[in-house]
């Protein structure tokens, strides 16, 4: 198991007080906190070797280039990518998904063909496909939801048919916690000759992920959700897929030769990285990967199963409170969305904040899913490596307090 007490020492923000009480940070699905080593990597970069990268012959530039490429290698190894040239730096998951939509799907999806996604996608993995489908005259199909917050795959073979060019699914749902069977979906996609894209925003930070084992063509994830800085994300793509992609942003660094009339593209991965990259935060993301590797992703996953199970049990005892997503903690990530007709999600959010507890409230960028679930908003607690069962206790007490408070004013 993780030594959370020791881990907490590494996160300066966790000693902060909010509204006079200790911070209980349970908004990790939105963004994670950062260990000292990640912050230190940024400071180190800016204090010692900040420079523009690529093609600089001076020492700082060589050092910055080496450090950024080393970080790329770390990220490649972290998800078992076949090569660092399959790792494209983006700002976040959203940009990575749009890169596939604009650079790959706009080129390879034709009128009458299909794109298949799921009923539990984040807006970032839904709206880009609406646009591709509209512009290309393709059909966007949705894999529906089953009763228990899992995908209903009973019709998967007719939904993903031979006219399907792209299948995409969220690996772990940020609104339900559900872990989707991406390996099976990859296999079905392969069967019909479709590409397969995984939204790994909530999986890569929280469990061992192996892109080659899954068999996906693309995977998108964000540094800021995995202990890394804001402003850096990743698109992993198989080399063959990258080679069939058009650059999305054009300009400096991604070209080989340029005349006033025309330009040729640079090698991979630079072809997809126009302009000065986010050097510092790429290096910071490398430091985050180091930190996670130090903990061991198996143990990170174990810890989350444990704390999620603990929280599910405690929430299960609160009358009139609904918790969404699979009941079995082995089948879900560390995300607990809860809802009651007695207390609106925003009131939960405000009351919990007065108790130092940070949870997210609202539609979690999954409005259509919310409509399917029949709720306008939920409150969501989400865990990470530094969260403890004591924090779950604080949360559960505060939830109960809020419910009593709004029901009859008693405390």
């Amino acid at each position: 198991m993780l030594d959370t007490a020791r881990i907490r020492q590494d996160f300066p923000i966790l000693s902060r007080k909010v509204n006079g009480v200790p911070l209980v940070y349970l908004d990790n699905a939105a963004t994670s906190q950062k260990p000292r080593s990640v912050i230190r990597a940024l400071v180190d970069y800016y204090e010692r070797y900040n420079s523009n990268v690529h093609r600089g012959v001076h020492t700082l530039s060589m050092e910055a280039t080496d450090a950024m490429e080393e970080a790329r290698q770390k990220v490649a190894d972290f998800v078992n990518a076949e090569s660092p040239s399959c790792i494209i730096w983006t700002r976040n998951t959203t940009e990575a998904l749009n890169l596939v939509a604009q650079g790959w799907a706009m080129e390879h999806v034709a009128a009458g063909e299909r794109i298949v996604t799921t009923a539990m996608e984040h807006h970032s993995n839904l709206v880009p496909w609406q646009r591709v489908a509209r512009e290309r005259g393709a059909e966007l199909r949705i894999l529906p939801l089953a009763e228990d917050g899992a995908l209903d795959l009973s019709d998967v073979n007719s939904i993903i048919d031979t006219r399907t060019r792209l299948v995409t699914a969220v690996h772990v749902s940020n609104s339900l916690g559900t872990i989707n069977p991406v390996k099976a979906l990859a296999a079905r996609a392969k069967e019909v000759g479709a590409a397969f894209l995984v939204d790994g925003a909530q999986s890569v930070p929280h469990m061992p992920v192996d892109v080659q084992d899954i068999g996906c063509d693309f995977m998108a994830f964000s540094g800021h959700k995995m202990l890394g800085p804001t402003g850096i994300g990743v698109l992993y793509a198989r080399r063959e897929a990258l080679e069939r992609m058009e650059p999305f942003l054009v300009g400096g660094e991604m070209v080989l030769q340029v005349s006033y009339e025309d330009a040729t593209w640079n090698d991979l991965p630079m072809r997809f990285e126009a302009g000065t990259p986010n050097v510092a935060d790429a290096i910071g993301m490398g430091a985050a990967v180091d930190y996670l590797n130090g903990l061991g992703m198996d143990r990170v996953r174990e810890h989350e199963i444990q704390i999620t199970g603990y929280a599910l049990d405690a929430f299960g005892e609160i009358e009139d409170l609904d918790v969404f997503g699979p009941a079995d903690p082995e089948k879900r990530g560390g995300v607990i969305p809860f809802h009651t007709t007695e207390v609106h999600a925003h009131d939960f959010g405000t009351v919990l904040d007065r108790r130092g507890i940070a949870v997210r409230t609202g539609h979690h960028c999954t409005m259509p899913l919310m409509e399917t679930l029949g709720v306008a908003a939920t409150a969501r607690a989400s865990f990470y490596v530094y969260n403890t069962e004591e924090e779950v206790d604080v949360l559960v007490d505060a939830v109960k307090e809020a419910m009593r408070y709004f029901l009859d004013g008693s405390r």
């Binding site: 609106h344 009351v351 306008a376 408070y405 709004f406």
Partner: protein, 155 residues
């Protein structure tokens, strides 16, 4: 964990209006009618009011869906503007908005003052304002309609 702390935000008046909202029945043949939505939290307000021959709000109905602050603010609104002229209602709305934006608390009276505590949670201020923005929209529509009508029918 001081309960006082929550009470500063959710004062008794708020909880009372939230648990027992006033004037929830919509009115027939309303003169003023407007909806307001905050897509981000799913809060919704539906407001209808009828005017008497003096231009006073003689009946009002408001249905608020969503958080406690939105519901309480809507319920208090109905009590605050019932029997007032359109102009007075608009002034009440301005005064309430001034209070919630921290500009001026002087002109707000009665249970509505309880909502001042919401400023402690600044993102929630827009919950308190939703019903009032419906009121403003409804009044504006009604005034435009009157102007159009008076323009069309020369007296």
């Amino acid at each position: 964990m001081a309960p006082d702390d929550l009470d500063g935000l959710y004062r008794d008046a708020i909880l009372d209006h939230c648990r027992n909202p006033r004037n929830r029945a919509l009115v027939e043949r309303p003169d003023v009618s407007a909806n307001a939505v905050n897509p981000f939290c799913g809060d919704e307000v539906r407001l209808q009011a009828a005017l008497d021959s003096d231009g006073r709000i003689s009946r009002i109905g408001l249905q608020a869906v969503g958080c406690a602050i939105n519901q309480a603010s809507g319920s208090m609104l109905t009590e605050a503007v019932l029997g007032r002229t359109i102009k007075e209602a608009r002034a009440a709305s301005d005064a309430f908005q001034a209070m919630m934006q921290g500009r001026d608390t002087a002109a707000v009276e009665g249970p509505l003052t309880a909502l001042a505590g919401v400023k402690k949670a600044p993102v929630r201020v827009k919950c308190a304002l939703l019903a009032w923005s419906a009121l403003d929209d409804g009044i504006e529509d009604e005034e435009r309609r009157r102007k159009d009508t008076s323009g069309l029918i020369p007296d």
